[in-house]
């Protein structure tokens, strides 16, 4: 199967070139984050990493409170992910394995909401947040999305295949109540779907920018993406320091992705093709 024919050599060359282009911006980020500002404006440009990462990180910390932004981002991403997993699996399991009046209509309604344009509601959402006095707070980022239609749809589709009806019925006969069916029968079988949805939600939340930019008006409460864009906007800021900030806010996600790639890559395609 894996014979190396001339055709395959060409494929490998093209694929390697593609990977090189995919990864080069990260290398370049590393080069700039570890150099000095003078290196960045040098010609010919310095092409290998330097030893100034710590200096640059210290400069960033003087300009914005990056540790706090980091903490905020972790709080938002972890809470959003945990709540999304809970609400999506509970609702997905219910749609897949229980009968109740209005089930089909309610599910179709849920699917239809995915077609609604999100930007349209941006201004009113901001107004709602200011009525709730949530502008400038982290719950404005967490609460609106924790029971999203996509997650419930995804969980239902997975539950239909992964949770046998007989098992739910048997649990019922053994006297399990609803909550016990969810925790003892559904959750263990939904694990692969939870892994995918968890990584997906975490990455999306971590990277979210449009809504946080609008609603986080208080400079003391920022997420990493908002803090980074502020750094970039300040002209006096040391460019090498901006790069250092970008590097340390990008790395955790790359690590999480590589660790979870097994659960993630196959599923993102499966999810897309199912939808």
């Amino acid at each position: 199967m894996h014979r190396l024919t001339p055709g395959k050599v060409v494929f490998h060359v093209v694929l390697l070139l593609g990977v090189l282009i995919s990864l080069f911006p990260f290398y370049w980020l590393l080069v700039m984050a570890t150099g000095t500002e003078t290196d960045i404006y040098a010609y010919p440009p310095r092409l290998i990493p330097g030893g100034h990462l710590i200096d640059n990180i210290n400069t960033v910390r003087d300009a914005v409170n990056l540790p706090l932004a980091f903490l905020n981002t972790v709080i938002v991403a972890v809470l959003t992910t945990a709540l999304t997993l809970f609400f999506s699996s509970l609702a997905g399991f219910t749609f897949a394995r229980f009968r109740f009046p209005g089930r089909n209509v309610l599910f179709v309604l849920l699917l239809l909401t995915m077609a609604l344009p999100s930007q349209l509601g941006t201004i009113p959402s901001f107004v709602i947040m200011s009525e709730l006095q949530w502008v400038g707070t982290l719950q404005a980022l967490i609460v609106p999305g924790v029971a999203g239609a996509f997650g419930i749809f995804w969980m239902r589709q997975f539950a239909l295949g992964a949770i046998p009806q007989d098992l739910v019925d048997a649990g019922r006969v053994d006297g399990c109540n609803y909550w016990q069916l969810y925790t003892n029968v559904a959750l263990p079988l939904l694990r692969p779907a939870l892994a995918f949805l968890g990584i997906f939600t975490f990455i999306t939340t971590w990277n979210d920018y449009f809504w946080p930019l609008i609603v986080l008006v208080n400079p003391d409460v920022m997420t990493l993406q908002v803090a980074l864009s502020q750094l970039q906007g300040v002209y006096e800021t040391d460019y090498a320091a901006v790069m250092a900030g970008t590097l340390i806010s990008t790395l955790p996600l790359i690590v999480i992705f590589i660790l979870g790639a097994r659960h993630f890559i196959g599923n993102i395609a499966a999810g897309a093709l199912k939808a």
């Binding site: 894996h2 494929f11 694929l15 593609g18 995919s22 911006p25 370049w28 700039m32 404006y41 040098a42 010609y43 440009p45 609400f87 609702a91 229980f98 009968r99 009046p101 309610l106 849920l110 609604l116 344009p117 930007q119 349209l120 509601g121 941006t122 201004i123 009113p124 959402s125 107004v127 709602i128 609106p144 999305g145 924790v146 029971a147 239609a149 019922r172 109540n177 909550w179 971590w206 990277n207 920018y209 449009f210 609008i214 980074l228 970039q232 906007g233 790069m243 970008t246 806010s249 990008t250 996600l253 790359i254 992705f257 790639a261 890559i265 196959g266 993102i268 395609a269 897309a272 093709l273």
Partner: protein, 323 residues
């Protein structure tokens, strides 16, 4: 297929023969109680979505329609202005420019992106080594934040000190005003989109390709078809539904581009000559920089119409039966 009811099998209600007023009430109460016993847990389990959607999804859209008929800076009382915001929108050069910019960037990014993705997926679908490593490598850009990408690309494409122009100079070519000229700005934004989404689309195509039976390729090879013929006559036609999916998602995503130009230029101007001013960036500018909430809402409806129109066109063009 049977589904489970949560309560024990329903006992027929009111089995004792009716005797007086009291028993007329009783079955009604027990029916309600029974209904609650059987279905309450299910409704509670699915309720969070509907409650949150009503507050943060449906209500904002209705309110957006109301707002578009008002003049409002977000602080002073609203002033009803009828269709004035929409009338202004239809004559607003800046809005039309933002639509045009968005469409140009969308074409510049989507066409090469999907073409590259298709070629990569076709190659990955052959029996070659290192497939999973390639997939990870191609997918990493997609998990990177657009803010970070815009910062790095802003440096790579910098006019004076950017690496790309340094390369151009080193081979004796003219440097390009990536961040100052109209086409330079659009190409830089498109480059970011291509870089972030090619791998994602390749993974989707790969999943579609793996569903095509090998027999088809084998039979065609027996008939003497070369790689290009396999790609053109088997891969493309059978992948049509998947291609349709990626075109639709790329359209919806591409027409909503915001972060790339916003971070690249650090404001809502879209850069020199507003060449990077996209529709959503214009909405952001009108609503949250100029504080024109009413007009911003009207711009939101304008964007909605454009996105809807393009989704329909896409669907029509790509979904007609193959000739």
């Amino acid at each position: 297929m049977t589904t489970t009811d949560i309560s024990p099998a329903a006992q027929p209600a009111g089995t004792t023969p009716g005797s007086g007023l009291g028993t007329i009430q009783e079955p009604a109460i027990s029916a309600l109680t029974k209904f609650r016993q059987r279905y309450m847990a299910q409704y509670i389990a699915i309720a969070p979505f509907y409650i949150l959607f009503a507050i943060f999804g449906l209500f904002p859209i209705i309110f957006a329609l109301y707002l578009a008929f008002q003049n409002w800076d977000g602080i002073a009382p609203m002033e009803y202005v009828g269709l004035a915001q929409f009338e202004y929108l239809l004559t607003d050069r800046l809005f039309y420019d933002s639509v045009l910019n968005t469409l140009i960037i969308w074409v510049l990014s989507t066409v090469p992106m999907l073409a590259f993705a298709l070629v990569l997926a076709f190659m990955l679908n052959q029996s070659i080594r290192g497939k999973s490593l390639y997939r990870i490598g191609f997918f990493i850009p997609n998990v990177t934040s657009i803010v970070a990408i815009a910062i790095v690309f802003g440096s790579l494409f910098g006019n004076q000190f950017g690496l790309i122009n340094a390369l151009l100079r080193s081979i004796g070519a003219d440097q390009i005003g990536w961040l100052t000229s109209d086409w330079g700005i659009k190409l830089t934004v498109a480059a970011m989109v291509i870089w972030r989404w090619t791998g994602y689309n390749a993974i989707i195509y790969l999943a579609g390709l793996q569903a095509i039976p090998d027999d088809l390729y084998d039979a065609a090879k027996v008939d003497g078809a070369d790689t290009w013929r396999l790609f053109r006559d088997i891969t493309i036609p059978l992948l049509r539904p998947v291609i349709l999916f990626t075109v639709i998602t790329s359209t919806i995503g591409g027409l909503q581009i915001f972060t790339e130009p916003q971070v690249l230029f650090g404001d809502s101007s879209g850069g020199p000559g507003s060449a990077g001013q996209t529709m959503v960036l214009y909405l952001y500018d009108q609503a949250f920089v100029q504080n024109q909430f009413g007009y911003g809402a009207a711009v939101g409806w304008g964007i909605f119409v454009v996105v809807l129109a393009f989704s329909i066109i896409n669907w029509r063009v790509l979904n007609r039966p193959a000739d």
